[in-house]
Amino acid sequence: MKKLIVAAILLISLAGPAWAEPILINGAGATFPYPIYSKWFDEYAKINPDLHFNYQSIGSGGGIRQASESTVDFGATDGPMNDEQMSKAKVKLLHFPTVLGADVPTYNLPEVRGGLNFTPQALAGIFLGTITKWNDPELVKANPDAKLPEKLIIVVHRSDGSGTTYVWVDYLSKVSPEWKEKVGVGTSVNWPVGLGGKGNEGVAGLVKQTPYAIGYVELIYAEQNKMSYGQVQNSAGQFVKADLATVTAAAAGAVKTMPADFRVSITNASGEKAYPVASFTWLLIPEKISDPKKGKAIVEFLRWMLKDGQRLAPELLYAPLPKEVVAMEEQAIGQIKH
């Protein structure tokens, strides 16, 4: 009886669907752009029903690793690969920026309405564990009107390898020499304090459920879940809230000096209106794609992404790429051999 059932299942799945065979392209990586990527792949599947892009948000670390090992067709990361990682990868990977996003400090304070101002010292202190209470002078100084409670700050960070983390600690390293020395930069770091959540989703989930918690998430996660997030003081001394305008402003400076491989950091960018914890996020595409059908599909998707895809970004609070970068990328697509 069991054998009959097994045979039946085998037959059903081997027979395959009677309709057209869609090509499945597997990708994995950053949770930072997951909302816009899943929207893109959904929309793209409507235009091209025979192509399925299956994207799993497992964190940038996972994206880098799986793409390097070729266990997926493409990867995604918000922390660009360093030279060592690129040399160790089994295939040569190209970085293609897709959108601009921002890490925001999101918190759960029942007593406080509206956004709090965070100085770089405050953020560094909180995540280093040197600032332990919400009514610490550093926080009160920047928020004289807020009723900050005398409660312990519960820090939440990522437990998985993350580009969102990379962006956050990249920023902290630039503004805090203590952070740079003690912890450093990477997709996974040795956090001095805090609970670990899995993915942007996990961190948002923990902060949302834990009073007096603070974490860092990509902007859209805080917005979609109606969580409070604060303003961060930029290099010009202004407290800036993350939104399309301020994120675009952060990229403006980098556009002029964009390297050919697109690996650039825009944290703590100069400019009055620039949001200091913004970043590009990249797709990791192999330089040589062995399967011609997949290769063609990926290249066509990239072209779509650079035109129509960009239009879908603002709705999900990701800033579209600057025109100059788009032009550079359209050229760079030619490098992909399929």
């Binding site: 499945l24 929207k39 299956n54 993915g199 989703e201 979609q224």
Partner: protein, 282 residues
């Protein structure tokens, strides 16, 4: 003369015995709470969409877990293909040929070892021998991990049920001149079949709820997974992914999936008890 029963002794007796009753009430209370909680939250979340639709993009409401349900069925099917034959024949060997020899002892020991291996370690194993050489995640890898996990219980339960078949039945069949393999295949095994089937059912139920081994073997998939060589969504992994996320709608779907999984698993347990109960009676 027996000493009179003093008050402290009587009180201690009453206290300790009622404590055991309290413990029992506590444990059963936990069980009913869990079942009730999932039933309550799961039922309100179950709808036709859940069984028929694919997941929606992140942040959007609605969608379902149709691909995860099919994925779980496929994974279990593949797991049975691997675990049942090896486990079944292993049990046959232990009961019919290997009751007292060294090899029998070693195989029993190996089965116990396998049983004790944490499921996450099985996931690592399947990753190193299937995912890495193939260079991608697949239903096959997930099926291998689950299948190997099925082996030890299938072996032991098959062995135990075969051993229950009385020697007289074997002797009678042999006396009639049947070949050895026919005796085993057509007389002994059919007699024990009910028990063996329930053993396999319980085995499947146990493996159906496993999440850890699937995390880096079958991985996950937003779409339908075709054939055996693509990654696939599965109920347990979806529950995990949705539960740790902040989206309310995802939590709702996680409860629904939890309910479905629970019904599957507990249903198999209940069913196998009923079958065995009837066998013992009749």
């Amino acid at each position: 003369m027996t000493p009179a029963l003093s008050l402290p002794r009587k009180l201690t007796n009453a206290f300790m015995l009622s404590l055991t009753g309290v413990c029992t009430a506590l444990v059963l209370g936990v069980l009913f709470f869990i079942l009730g909680y999932i039933a309550y939250h799961g039922i309100s979340a179950l709808d036709w969409d859940f069984f028929t639709k694919l997941p929606k993009p992140v942040g959007e409401k609605g969608g379902g877990m149709a691909n995860a349900i099919v994925g779980t069925v496929k994974l279990l099917g593949l797991a049975s293909l691997i675990g049942v034959p090896i486990g079944f024949f292993g049990g046959v060997y232990l009961s019919e040929y290997g009751r007292k020899n060294t090899l029998g002892f070693l195989i029993r020991y190996a089965a116990d070892l396998l049983n004790g291996i944490p499921s996450i370690v099985m996931g690592i194993f399947a990753y190193t021998i299937v995912v890495l050489p193939m260079k991608h995640f697949s239903t096959l890898a997930g099926g291998v991990a689950l299948g190997v996990m099925m082996i030890p219980i299938a072996v032991r339960s098959t062995e135990e049920f075969l051993k229950l078949v009385p020697a007289s039945i074997r002797e009678a069949a042999l006396a009639l001149g049947l070949a050895e393999w026919k005796v085993i295949s057509f007389v002994v095994i059919p007699t024990a079949l009910r028990g063996i089937v329930t053993g396999v059912m319980l085995d499947l139920a146990r493996v159906a709820g496993e999440t850890a081994p699937l995390l880096f073997t079958a991985f996950s998939n937003r779409f339908w997974s075709r054939g055996w060589l693509e990654p696939t969504a599965s109920l347990p992994v979806m529950i995990y992914t949705y539960a740790i996320a902040p989206y309310e709608d995802w939590h709702r779907q996680a409860w629904a999936a939890g309910l479905v999984l629970l019904i599957l698993v507990l249903g198999a347990n209940l069913l196998s008890r009923l079958i065995l109960h009837r066998q013992l009676k009749g």
